[in-house]
């Protein structure tokens, strides 16, 4: 499985608001489709996404099957202190993946 693509600045000024963009490789199988013999394909989506900054939750989302395949998400964070930003997402099978980035606040 391809690694997610994350875009965020490495360094920001204190108090500045910056965007984080993430693109995650996932089929987001909606549960609405059928296979070639007409059998429903079971739903298998990422249903939860959480972003923490310095251990504190900044953004959390519940995804439904209406989120497109290979989910793309942009949200913003306010620069408070240098630290680690962790993004974690969980799928219908209960499997979690995470990625972290370091941010320097000047």
């Amino acid at each position: 499985m391809a690694r997610p693509l994350i875009n965020a600045p490495k360094s920001v000024r204190r108090g500045e608001v910056f965007d984080i963009r993430i693109l995650i490789a996932h089929p987001m199988e909606s549960g609405q489709r059928r296979d070639d013999v007409g059998k429903p394909i079971p739903r298998e989506i990422i249903n939860r996404f959480v972003c923490t900054y310095g251990g504190e939750e900044v953004f959390r989302a519940e995804f439904f099957p209406a989120i497109a395949a290979n989910p793309f998400l942009t949200f913003s964070v306010s620069a408070v202190e240098s630290g680690v930003i962790v993004m974690t997402w969980t799928d219908d099978l209960g499997a979690s993946q995470f990625e972290s980035i370091e941010i320097t606040v000047t």
């Binding site: 900054y53 900044v58 953004f59 497109a68 998400l73 942009t74 913003s76």
Partner: protein, 145 residues
């Protein structure tokens, strides 16, 4: 593989169902559960989504808060519903105090022409909404599994 080629003459523009300005009961109930019956007001949040969608499999959508609001009025969560989808829930997003500018962009699936509704819950207990009615055109030659 079931592949279909819909030739000219087939219905290629999915027209929205006739609306009398009423929200679909399922969505109305979900919003009611969210607001606890509080009044929904227009403003504070802005929904951006193309009015004419070329392919409903991935439609860029942004919910933003155009004007600065006070700390007391802070947007705590944003909820998006697509009335014409088999499951109208799209996303529920929650913003912590370190979220600089509550709002989000993502790409969503739209099954057909319909109205998309965003609702924001604010720290002052108020609820705000914005909605867009849009058209989804269907591709002529499709290769689906």
């Amino acid at each position: 593989m079931h592949r279909r080629m819909l030739l000219a003459g087939a219905a290629l523009l999915a027209l929205p169902p006739a609306r009398a300005g009423a929200t679909k009961p399922e969505v109305a109930a979900a919003i009611q559960a969210l607001t606890g019956g509080a009044k929904l007001r227009q403003g504070r949040i802005k929904l951006d989504i193309p009015l004419l969608v070329e392919n409903g499999n991935a439609v860029a959508m942004t919910v933003s808060v155009p004007d600065a609001v006070s700390e007391a009025e802070r947007i705590r969560s944003i909820h998006v519903f697509a009335e014409g989808n088999p499951n109208p829930n799209v996303i529920n997003a929650f913003f912590g105090p370190r979220s600089g500018r509550p709002g989000l962009s993502t790409r969503i699936r739209l099954a057909t022409s319909q109205t998309v509704i965003a609702v924001a819950a604010c720290a002052d207990g108020t609820f705000w909404t914005d909605s867009i009615e849009l058209l989804v055109t269907l591709a002529a030659c499709i290769d689906e599994i």
